[in-house]
Amino acid sequence: MTAAEAVGVLRFDRVTKEYPRSGLALHEVSFRVAKGEFVFLTGPSGAGKSTILRLAYFAERPTSGLVRVSGVNSEHASRREISKLRRRLGIVFQDFRLLEDRTAEENVGFALEVTGVPRAQIGPKVSRVLTQVGLAAKATAFPRELSGGEQQRVAIARALVNDPFVLIADEPTGNLDERATRGVFQLLREINAAGTAIIMATHDLDLVRHADYRTLELNRGQIVFDSAESPEPAA
């Protein structure tokens, strides 16, 4: 396990994912993400970005190959191990996945309740992170009372609130305007600077070009470009 951490917090080894009706979503994908690294995942719609991320938080298991996240292994991981791992991850889902019958702050606080954080500490943490994403004013609104971008920011806040060691974000700025995108991205940079590894699927190539982080480009379920291997940037 310590050896695994030395080589990367997240590691895919020849991972293939096949869906019953639609065939290969990923084909022999291998890569690793080092501790504290920031990785962009790009590629056309349907390339397999979300599939990689779902495998990374064990919402799915690979058809073949091995996924390892912080010592948890896709071949042997128990339900309990997966639950424990997820408490240390921050996940932003492409479709937000907010609880419809809880307010914005309850949705964010929920990620802390699950990990057993004492009630007294939850309130301040939630306020802080909602302020960071610019949603302090909407704390008591329910998801249906929020605009698309506001919902997305609640989802980001929830992923950040438990100080994850890896942040997995699936198009976290898809519903945000340029300014909000810059704000959220700035926040992710700060978190990354503090040591959190970030793996972020995005189709905002402007962001990718300007940020100059490592980029993995997917196409039809295969990695077609990895900026860590060929040093010239995509643009």
Binding site: A59, R79, R80, R86, R97, L99, E113, V114, T115
Partner: protein, 283 residues
Amino acid sequence: MRRTVRDASAAFTRAPLLTALSITTIAFSLFAFGLFGLVALNIRAALQGVEERVEIRAFVADGTDAQSLAAAAGDIDAFPEVQSVNIVTQDQALARARTELTEFSDVFQSGVLPASIDVKLKPGYRDPATVARVSARLKSYPFVDDVRYGEDWLVQLYRLRNIAGVAGLALGLAFAAVAVIIIGATIRMAVLSRADEISIMRLVGATDGFIRRPFLLEGFAKGILGGLLALGLTWLGMHLIDRYMHFHTVFFSPAMAAAGVVAGALIGVLGSSVAVGRHLRAL
């Protein structure tokens, strides 16, 4: 724990319809069950009253002296099956016939009825076989002319009791089966209606136990409420029958009533547990 209670009670306000449905279903099933139980209980009570009247009557030859009668009565009283023995003289027999058969009371003016030794059996010995056995022994006394105990009637009584028991049990089980199906479906739907919530919980790292707990408490609360409601309905039903039928009925003992409520709680908890468990394993 606080979260569990809060989440469980939130379920009541968030899905009032489903909650009401679950409680009503549990209550309805237990109520139907309770009504059948009460009918069975009352049939049993009624049969017990009838059974107490099981009596063997040994008619005695005219002119038997009182002393040998008394001696025989003493013997008979010592039989292990016998509860009480009673000597009925000819005069007493006539008086009794007059009151019991008023329609024919005119008739008995001229008639003469035989004296008899009337034997009552202990509870548990009132079945047809024992009665026949005791009758045979009575018949062996030389001065006994004839022994009567209403064979047909007794056999019928026992048959009725067996039938009532079997029919009650069969119908009760049928009702219970249907009730379990309905309750199971209701709870499963309660879980499915929160499938999104459960999957989100799992994705942010909640363990199975953490997810399961509020559901179990919710099931428990619904079960208890359903059980109490059923008890209230049954009591009301009984009370109305009592009142408008002027027919005294037996109600459940406190222990049986409590058992009914506990059964509701068990149904609730077990149903929830199975439904959530199945759902979690499928994730």
